[in-house]
């Protein structure tokens, strides 16, 4: 990891450790089901911004394994849905700017990926990564269920967030990342990519003199920078035609830097392995979390 990236993480982790999340928990009677309860969590990030998470908790006595499904790049993060939710605590955290976490900043799509990118101090995506680190810490603040093993999963931006959390939090036991976004890597600025990465080149076309500043703002978030710090086993899927999130060459390099990486390459685009990989991931997660 670069000196800059290490400083970025250490500084933000120090603030997270000092500033309490002010966690508020509310059961959602409308969406709770006979076999699991649904909760709405509200808590603050390092800079006091209020964030929201969906949380589902199985009925019965724990401890339960926990799955944290990181949000992809988009305005909405789903209410919890996985067939494992009757056996695992599942958290779907949002980041700033997404719906329900948009009190202070309303994200634009396209647009969020370059919001404030001219200065590392104002670049919103750096805060997004801190937001999800806070979410994982909040899991241990709640008293709704005892927590066992933890997996973090995600697709696109969510894949990168999952990898970052695994790199910074030793409590993570397994990571499933699909087509993790190459944000922070120099190739993400290249012309000819599809959205969402194409937002970066749009920005440089409009503001060519900002190239160095944009590169500096994003570099600390490059998954390649964090890969060697991930101890947990990683299931990684990429699509050979993906040019909007995780170009193949980036995915392969990323896999080579992770200690325990099971790389699956599919003939798809940003959907990665699609349905086929979803089945593989479900089985892999069940195995890693002891769900049988």
């Amino acid at each position: 990891m670069s000196i800059s990236a290490d400083r970025f993480w250490r500084e933000n982790e120090a603030v997270l450790a000092e500033v309490m999340p002010q966690l508020q928990v509310q059961r959602d009677d409308f969406y709770s089901q006979p076999d699991w309860d649904v909760y709405q969590l509200h808590y603050t990030s390092a800079d006091g911004i209020w964030l929201f998470s969906w949380l589902s908790v199985p009925k019965g006595d724990g401890p339960f394994p926990v799955i944290v499904r990181m949000p992809d790049y988009g305005s909405v993060h789903d209410i919890v849905y996985t067939s494992l939710r009757d056996r695992a605590v599942v958290m779907n955290p949002t980041y700033r700017g997404q719906r329900r976490s948009d009190h202070s900043i309303q994200a634009k799509y396209p647009g969020l990926l370059t919001e404030g990118i001219g200065d590392p101090g104002s670049y919103v995506m750096r805060r997004v990564f801190v937001d999800v680190l806070r979410a994982v810490d909040v899991i241990y603040e709640q008293n709704l269920a005892q927590i066992g093993k933890m997996a973090v999963i995600g697709a696109g931006l969510g894949g990168s967030l999952a990898l970052a959390v695994a790199a910074r939090r030793g409590v993570v036991d397994a990571v499933a990342a699909n087509t993790p976004m190459a944000l922070g890597n120099p190739l993400a600025f290249e012309p000819g990519l599809a959205y969402p990465l194409a937002e970066l080149n749009d920005y440089l076309r409009m503001y060519p003199d900002q190239r160095d500043a944009a590169a500096q703002s994003t570099a600390d978030l490059d998954p390649l920078n964090m890969a060697s710090q991930i101890i947990a086993p990683v299931l990684l899927s990429v699509g050979i035609n993906d040019n909007g999130s995780c170009p193949l060459a980036f995915g392969e390099e990323l896999a080579s830097l992770i200690h325990q990486c099971d790389l699956r390459v599919y003939h798809g685009a940003s959907e990665g392995g699609g349905h086929e990989h979803a089945q593989i991931q479900m089985s892999w997660l069940s195995d890693k979390l002891g769900l049988g």
Partner: protein
Amino acid sequence: MATQQDLEAFSTQVTCPDDFDDFWSGTLEMLSGISLKSVITAEPIRSNDDVHVFHVTFLSLGGLEISAWYSLPTKGDGPFPAIVNFPGYKSEPPVRRDWGKKGVAVLSVAVRGKLMSSSEFNPGYPGLLTAGLESKENYGYRGVISDCVRAVDFLHSRPEIDPERIYACGSSQGGGLTLITAALRPEIKGGVAGYPFLCCYPEAMTMFQSYPYDELACYARAYPGDEEQTLETLRYFDAVNFAPRIKCPMVVGIALDDEVCPPETSYAAYDALTAHKELWLFPNSGHGNAHDYPGQERAWLENQIGLTVVGS
């Protein structure tokens, strides 16, 4: 995984209300009384060598201002063929720059409730599917569908667009809206509906415990006395009831492992089509992730528009 035999054996309990056409002709009449008042603003940051991108607004049902991304080819004077792209349930409308090189305009609509069109109607996700279910007049989708109709009206109003070559596409909710809008606006000359949502509500809300359909199941649990009224409202918004009213060629794409929009329910909409139709079945694929779907959609639209011959 569902099989084609499973789909063909499925029979929906959805029936069409006697006043279905009256309800929708009344809604279209209300729309015709609202001036479009379109405003087009250049988006230079999204424009490139192939496309000029614009942010567009126009007025829709209730006088709500609806936004869209409008991509026009940079080469040629037009009139251009056009595609209207309807959005999925929770996703924001994409900026479509991929048709510019082919000389095709694209309007990508942010129906009410999407970020760009949420100032006066914003039930959220989850939330939209149950907003206003108490009556067909107030159901949120009456406005959403009207917004799609107005998107077609916008294209039809533009001198740079060829009014005889307007097509529609979308996946999931966008697939359902493609079917529904094509029934209400014959100006649409063909469409591709992928993994269509908004089909066979009574069955779809009970087949899986996945969202968005599960919003309806949660609503039924929360308001057990309202089920009859809820299902009555939904009959007016079921793509199965719109399908026989479509006059243009239509494709329905179905993933046989779809756990969001049950394949049987999407097939019922296909089955109800009476105009020229094609069925694309994708085995070993889930909702929105059939690897071959995007390429097939593109090839079919290119063929309809007259750009290429499928298979060439």
